[in-house]
């Protein structure tokens, strides 16, 4: 039997897919899971803030303190890991 916490935590592929869709919509470009968004020819660093707001709202998390680093938003893979970690720690906080 699943607990409510497990049923509300999306799986990595669901998170990655949602981030990927957002990026494609906003940048009109398809991004590989390990592509560096901020590398030359990528998105502007100001766009990182749009990513923070999107991730917070879409996955109901708060990104703060040491997690506010550009390196945490470089690739879809890295962002997926960040979302999973914050979702888990918020679930722990509720225990």
């Amino acid at each position: 039997m699943s607990t409510p916490q497990q049923s509300t935590a999306p799986a990595a592929d669901v998170i990655a897919e949602r981030i990927s869709r957002f990026l494609q919509e906003r940048t009109k470009t398809a991004w590989a899971p390990d592509a560096d968004l901020f590398a030359s020819g990528g998105v502007s660093s100001l766009f990182a803030m749009e990513l923070v707001v999107f991730l917070e709202e879409a996955f109901d998390i708060e990104i703060a303190g040491r997690d506010l680093r550009l390196d945490n938003f470089r690739t879809i893979q890295v962002m997926t890991g960040l979302v999973q970690r914050l979702r888990e720690s918020e679930a722990d906080d509720r225990d």
């Binding site: 919509e25 803030m49 749009e50 707001v53 703060a64």
Partner: protein, 288 residues
């Protein structure tokens, strides 16, 4: 105690884009800030925006590590100015609106307190007649966003005193900014050169020579500009850019400063750049 070590309280007048940005800079560097606006709803919104912009500043590594943020007070009462050690006026870029705000606040602060008008183009001496002590009035031209751009253009008016100029320099240093002082002419250095150039870039787009993406890519790729002219326009705010161009045109007679029709059309349509989510570029409808 040196000015840099002194406990400051910054009073910011106007909770628009620049007021919020300057408040964010102060708080991020641990200085308490009182943000004043006549509009209570705008202040509530400003509180959320400061929180978001602090995140952006942290994300970009633009704030000192481990510094406790300064306290933010929002109020509709300019009387709070009595406690301030520095006042920065950042209301709408219209000389009469700025003069009225400065007149009120300058009578409330202690003599020797820098009363700063933040403007992209209005000569400081035009405002000096409205304040209690013209020698305490000085200009700044912070770029947007103030916490990401390390340098500030400072404008010494004809009646600005040497003491206030020195105090302001040390306050800006406390906020991690370097500053350069220029003489008091319409648009000073940066706007006098940049704004007519952006106006030309807009004309190039209207005439169909190239779309905004191409114009910006050429400035970035060929000329090494960090941000092309149309993206810069979206950051300035297209209404503010049009206002600044009018100020320049009225005072210099330079026909290149008459706002281009495409700029005016965008302002009329409410597409004011990043702050409304759309200008020359689409920011996904997310004001930022």
């Amino acid at each position: 105690m040196s000015e840099e070590g002194k406990a400051h309280r910054l009073l910011v007048l106007g909770a628009g884009v620049m007021g919020v940005g300057i408040a964010t800079l102060g708080i991020g560097f641990g200085v308490p800030v009182t943000l004043v606006d006549v509009d209570r709803a705008k202040l509530d919104h400003a509180r959320r925006r400061v929180r978001r912009e602090l995140k952006l500043a942290r994300l970009m590594g633009a704030l000192p590590e481990g510094a406790a943020p300064g306290e933010l007070v929002t109020t509709v009462s300019v009387e709070e100015a009595a406690e301030a050690t520095v006042v920065i006026e950042a209301v709408t870029e219209l000389a009469e609106v700025k003069a009225a705000a400065l007149a009120k606040v300058s009578g409330l602060v202690a003599p020797g307190t820098p009363v700063v008008s933040n403007t992209s183009s209005i000569p400081i001496d035009e405002l000096a007649g409205s304040v209690a002590r013209p020698e305490d009035l000085i200009g700044t031209h912070f770029m947007n966003p103030p916490y990401l751009i390390p340098m500030v253009e400072v404008i010494r008016g004809r009646r600005t005193g040497a003491a206030v100029e020195a105090t302001l320099a040390s306050v800006l240093a406390r906020l991690g900014r370097t500053s350069l002082v220029v003489a008091d002419r319409p648009g000073f250095v940066t706007s006098r050169v940049l704004h007519p150039m952006i106006n030309d870039a807009i004309r190039v787009v209207r005439e169909g020579t190239a779309p905004p993406e191409t114009v910006d890519a050429l400035f970035e790729g060929c000329l090494g500009h960090r941000t092309g002219p149309l993206r810069t326009a979206d950051l300035i705010g297209l209404d503010n850019l049009a206002d600044s161009l009018r100020v320049l045109h009225e005072r210099t007679g330079d026909a290149g400063c008459v706002p281009d029709q495409l700029l005016l059309d965008k302002v009329r349509a409410g597409h004011l750049g990043r702050k409304t989510g759309r200008g020359f570029y689409d920011y996904g409808g997310n004001p930022s």
